[in-house]
Structures are given as structure tokens and as C-alpha cells.
Amino acid sequence: MASITRASVSMPSLSASVNQSQRRISGMNSVSFPVSGRSMIPSLRLQRGLQVCCAAKQETVDKVVAIVKKQLALPADAAVTGESKFAALGADSLDTVEIVMGLEEEFDITVEEESAQSITTVQEAADMIEKLVEK
């Protein structure tokens, strides 16, 4: 009895974090495992396992977009998405280094030269940030 009570008390917080994870995994319906009353727990573990391979959170992408727009002095309504290439937006090598520096400050990370060189789009930057932040 006690364990069931504990389980039911902790359910709301589990479901909150499950919802957050669901946002990362687009198109995944992860809360439908037909296991007994503790169905939330196996699904959460499964989601955690999947997290590593998923694309960056939208809020990370949004922050990268903001830093890029600021560095390149683009208008706030300029269409910049995950697929946008820095070079195509007008970033030269100095801009790119400044963008990386801005990302380091915003996310409190250090980006090695090798990694910095391989970032060409907003999405790549966001994915790299999430990998570094996870460490």
C-alpha cells in the first residue's frame, strides 16, 4: 500500500519530465506502454536512452539564432532557422569565431578549434552545444 501511495505522489513530477522529453522526440508517443501501474517509469528510461541521439532542444536553437542575428546585425524578423548556414548569412571567419565565443559565454562551455571549424549551420552549433553541456 505504502509503495503504491509513493508511486502516485511521484507521478505528477515524472509526467512533467516525461512531457519535456516528449518535446525533444518529435512524433514519438512514448507514454503508451501497456505495463501495469508503473508504466511511466519504463518509458522514461527508454526516453532517456533515446535522448543522446536526438536533435537539440528548440530553446538551444533559438538562443543560437539570437546570437547569430546579433553578431551579423540581422533584423529581428530575418528568417534564420536550424538549417541556416553561417556563411550564407554573411558570416566571415571573424564573425564565426565571434559567434563561437558568444556561444561559449551563453552556455558556459569551451569549444575546441577542431569542433568550431566543423560548425557551419545553426543546427550543428546547437547540437554541439548540447553535447558539451551534457558533459
Binding site: K70, Q71, K85, A87, A88, L89, G90, D92, S93, L94, V97, E98, M101, G102, E104, E113, E114, A116, Q117
Partner: protein, 314 residues
């Protein structure tokens, strides 16, 4: 095929329709490019275009026609008129410049092929033909929205970088330098009390460092900026951190001020030295061009002022 191209070009908003009165000059084939002799072993040729001076939509259309489809797509991939125009002029400048040297009879800028070395540095891919020995022509391009430049040598690896003198960093200069430059360079910048001068010194240092890495041609990650110091007290030299006592003698530098508005840094592989290992000055010929329209020899004029390194202008 041509009408399809024409249809696509009319959509290029960077081609200002106000200058259509010039169209009569370009309705026929383009005039020939002024041929030029290959640089000698000791010479460096610098060619540049000022995008603001190229306003004719039909001329820009003709430039577009010189490019293979994948280069046109690349140009059109840039966001906005100004970026597309300078990207187009960069490709045009490199193709027309190399074509001028008439390395192969009737070399057409259209027919040049380019490839990248294993590190990504662009090179000419010469046609393999019987009896044709490709020349050891080296080139490098750099561009900003306000200047497109191409450096050419015979044999010497070359890297060039151009930047507007007034370029401002978004980040604080010293914070940026501490993160990316060497301690010596930070010290050098820190010692400059005037913020305007400090900004200019930073830009000079940046262009010199870029030019060095581009000359090496191995990609930026093989020579991170904090692994080598540019010393520019008397003459300009590079010192790599792994052999600090040994100023790396293989490379020589020139720093120019172009049209009073831009810095141009050139880094060359040293070919020969004078007596006792002393470096010979860089022999530079600089030309401003609007391909197929006009060429102007500007070396030795106040359009090109040597501000660093040992340079003789011809």
C-alpha cells in the same frame, strides 16, 4: 538554355536595373581579357575588385555566365544582394585572373576547373593533355562585401586576407584576444592606450594570422590561432609555440593599406634568401580591375601603401 539563364538572372535583385543604359556594351560577346605575363618566381601579383564600382546588371549577368552551375548555385545560396554580388565577383575574379595568364592557349575563364586539396584549400585542376605541363601557379582569394582580392604567385604558397580598417568586433578586443590569440599578442594589444588604434592593430593582427593559416593551406584546426605568434615590430615574422626560439623563417609577410580603407595581409612561402639568410623583399604588382571593362596598375601609387613587411612595388 540561354533563355532559361536569362529568366533566372532577372530575378537576381542585386543586379540594379537602373544601369540598363550600359546594356548596349554587353549585348555582344565580352571584350577579351587583357593578357598578362605570369609572375616571375620572385613576384606576387595582387588583383582586386571594388564591388561598389561594378553596377551594370548586364555585366554581372555575363559574369554569372562564366560560372559552372554549381558555382552559380553557390552564389545564389548567399542571403541578400550584397553577399551574392561579392560572392559572384570573387568567383569571377579568380577565373578571369588565372585566364589572363594564358597558361594554355585560348584559356577561357569558363573552362577552368577547381578542386580542393585534402585540407580543403582551393587549387586549379589543370587539364591533363599531352605535352602540357601545368605551371606551378598558386593563388588565394579573400573578400569582404566591399573588396574582393586575389593573390597569384609562381611556386610560392600564398595566403591573403582582406578586411575593412574600420571593422569592429562585437566582443571586447582584449577578451577576444585572450581567448584566441597568444600571450605575446595580448600583451602587444594591451599596451596600446588608444582604443581606435587598438582596434586597428587587432584587425591587422587578425588579417596576418588568417593569411598565414591560408598560406599553410591545412585548415584552421591544424594551426589554431593561439599556437603561433605574429611579431610585427621590425618587419613581420611568425613564431610557432612549439619552437619559440626559432622564428619560422619559411614565411614572409606583407601588410598593405588599400585605398585608405582596407588592410590586405599577404603571407608567402619564402623562395630564396639574400646573402647570409637575409630575406629579400616581396616584389609586388597590384592591379585594380573590373574584368572585361578596365584594368589599372596601382602599385606604387597611394592606393597601395606598404605598412608592414619588406615590399617593393612595381
Amino acid at each position: 538554355m540561354l533563355s532559361f539563364l536569362r529568366r533566372s538572372y532577372l530575378n537576381f535583385s542585386f543586379m540594379n536595373p537602373h544601369y540598363c543604359c550600359l546594356s548596349r556594351n554587353f549585348s555582344a560577346a565580352l571584350p577579351p581579357l587583357l593578357p598578362v605575363q605570369l609572375p616571375s618566381r620572385m613576384e606576387t601579383h595582387l588583383w582586386y575588385v571594388v564591388p561598389d564600382e561594378v553596377k551594370s546588371a548586364p555585366l554581372l549577368s555575363k559574369y554569372m555566365e562564366l560560372l559552372p552551375q554549381y558555382e552559380r548555385d553557390h552564389v545564389l545560396g548567399f542571403r541578400g544582394d550584397q553577399l551574392q554580388k561579392s560572392a559572384l565577383l570573387a568567383r569571377t575574379l579568380v577565373r578571369t585572373t588565372i585566364a589572363r595568364y594564358q597558361v594554355d592557349d585560348h584559356l577561357d575563364p569558363r573552362s577552368l576547373r577547381f578542386k580542393r586539396n585534402i585540407h580543403g584549400k582551393p587549387e586549379v585542376e589543370w587539364e591533363t593533355k599531352d605535352g602540357f605541363c601545368p605551371p606551378p601557379l598558386q593563388f588565394n582569394i579573400s573578400h569582404t562585401s566591399s573588396l574582393v582580392a586575389c593573390g597569384v604567385t609562381m611556386n610560392s604558397l600564398i595566403g591573403i586576407d582582406v578586411e575593412e580598417k574600420r571593422r569592429r568586433t562585437k566582443n571586447n578586443i582584449l577578451a577576444f584576444a585572450k581567448r584566441y590569440f597568444t600571450a605575446h599578442e595580448v600583451e602587444h594589444l594591451n599596451a596600446i592606450p588608444d582604443s581606435e588604434l587598438q582596434q586597428q592593430e587587432f584587425i591587422k593582427l587578425w588579417t596576418l594570422k588568417e593569411a598565414y593559416v591560408k598560406a599553410l593551406g591545412k585548415g584552421f584546426s591544424s594551426s589554431p590561432f593561439n599556437t603561433f605568434t605574429i611579431r610585427a615590430s621590425s618587419g613581420i615574422a611568425v613564431e610557432t609555440l612549439d619552437s619559440p626560439q626559432n622564428l619560422t623563417n619559411n614565411w614572409q609577410f606583407a601588410l598593405l593599406e588599400l585605398m585608405g580603407s582596407h588592410y590586405v595581409a599577404i603571407c608567402l612561402e619564402r623562395q630564396e634568401t639574400g646573402g647570409a639568410g637575409k630575406a629579400l623583399p616581396i616584389k609586388l604588382t597590384a592591379r585594380k580591375t573590373i574584368p572585361f571593362v578596365e584594368d589599372e596598375l596601382v602599385s606604387g601609387t597611394n592606393a597601395v601603401v606598404t605598412i608592414g613587411g619588406s615590399v617593393t612595388q612595381f
